[in-house]
């Protein structure tokens, strides 16, 4: 397999885009959550929330629910990045790297299931 400048820059472009989007999204939501937290009268209790409670909480302007969403967005960023590289390697037909991406996804999944 010969190194290809064009493939290389395209991969860089998409990966950079995904990472930047993840950063901007999670940062804005986290910032909003912190501002709401500071403004909330008497502070907000830091309780553990289920996905449903987070959705409800965001609708009610609960700062902790907004912060939780920001944290989830941040955690999802590297996962989306792996999925992006996987997609690019599939399109470019590079079995070695498809395998590596799948292996990483599998290990992450295993760690989550076992943990």
């Amino acid at each position: 397999m010969i190194y290809d400048e064009h493939d290389h820059t395209r991969t860089d472009h998409w990966v950079s885009l995904v990472l930047r989007a993840g950063m901007v999204l999670s940062m804005s939501v986290l910032l909003l959550g912190i501002v709401l937290y500071i403004l909330s009268p008497g502070g907000s209790p830091e309780v553990d929330m289920s996905p449903g409670e987070i959705v409800n909480g965001i609708m009610n302007g609960n700062p902790i629910a907004v912060i939780d969403l920001g944290i989830i967005l941040l955690i999802l960023t590297p996962l989306t990045r792996v999925l992006t590289t996987l997609a690019i390697f599939i399109v470019d037909r590079q079995p070695r790297f498809v395998l590596a991406s799948l292996l990483v996804l599998g290990i992450i999944l295993a760690a989550i299931v076992l943990g």
Binding site: I34, G70, R81, T85, I107
Partner: protein
């Protein structure tokens, strides 16, 4: 959380973001001891916030370094499975191994690697045994020259990545601090590309741990949010400083950071609480 404490957390996170993004080491090594010893926060909260901080460092730094074409994405993707498996094995082994002895051994290893990096200049390799599909190129922002480099010793690199995962699984530190020298010294990857590629990888290594902690309610939201925001601020600065720093200088600073981590590990081995 009172205002002074929040301010302390943000300052620590900004520093961790700068140093972590400059050197590809995540910054957990700064966040955890600083939060626990300097601010007196519980270790459990510090670990969760630190994992979120590592993901933020990786995201913020890699988005810039990938955009500048410095990250070797293929090399990162090939090494990532070894690191991930290593950290799982490490987490299991941690139960059986003595943390103090482990810290001492790790410290000795760091001192040796640091000595090696300080004594020997970086040598470009034109090895026939290089792994052709991993060879890469980037434009150095300081010298303005295009750097083409060959990657060799993939086997050793995979082993080092596995070991790096082990260390982070067992001690909670050591991902980047092992991977960067391994890529640089063994695999022939220039320092700038090695640190950028490590930045790219660490987010994925921290991901599984972060999901597990989050699902178990072990991530304190406000603390984690402050750390993430501070780190993001830091990662806007770190890569800029790195851009102005010559590769060999970056390498020397890295060696000094390794010595600092070694000291921390020795303090831990001597039985003092350092939070990691």
């Amino acid at each position: 959380m009172d205002l002074l404490l929040a301010l302390g957390v943000i300052i620590i996170a900004i520093l961790a973001g700068i140093v972590g993004s400059m050197f590809g080491i995540g910054g957990g090594i700064i966040i955890i001891p600083a939060l626990t010893i300097a601010l007196g926060l519980p270790i459990k909260d510090a670990i969760g916030a630190s994992l979120i901080g590592v993901i933020a460092t990786s995201t913020g730094a890699a988005s810039r370094f990938v955009g500048q074409g410095i990250v070797n994405i293929r090399l990162g993707m090939i090494l990532e499975p070894a690191t991930a498996i290593g950290s799982m094995v490490g987490a299991v082994l941690a139960v059986y191994l003595d943390q103090y002895i482990l810290s001492a051994v790790f410290a000795v290893l760091l001192v040796y690697s640091s000595y090696y990096m300080l004594r020997r200049p970086e040598a470009a390799v034109n090895d026939e045994r290089c792994v052709e599909y991993l060879n890469c190129t980037y434009c150095d922002p300081v010298t303005k020259e295009r750097v083409n480099y060959n990657v060799r010793n993939l086997g050793k690199g995979l082993l080092a990545s596995f070991f790096a995962g082990n260390m982070s699984g067992m001690l909670g530190v050591g991902g980047g601090i092992v991977k960067v020298p391994a890529m640089n010294v063994w695999m022939g990857v220039p320092m700038r590309a090695a640190t950028a590629t490590s930045n790219f990888m660490i987010g994925v290594t921290a991901l599984a741990g972060a999901v597990v902690l989050y699902a178990n309610g072990l991530i304190s939201p406000v603390l984690a949010a402050l750390v993430a925001l501070g780190v993001f601020a830091g990662t806007t600065l770190g890569p800029r400083v790195a851009r102005r720093t010559a590769g060999p200088t970056l390498r020397r600073y890295f060696a000094v950071i390794m010595l600092g981590v070694a000291v921390l590990m020795l303090v831990k081995a001597a039985g003092f609480e350092v939070g990691i």
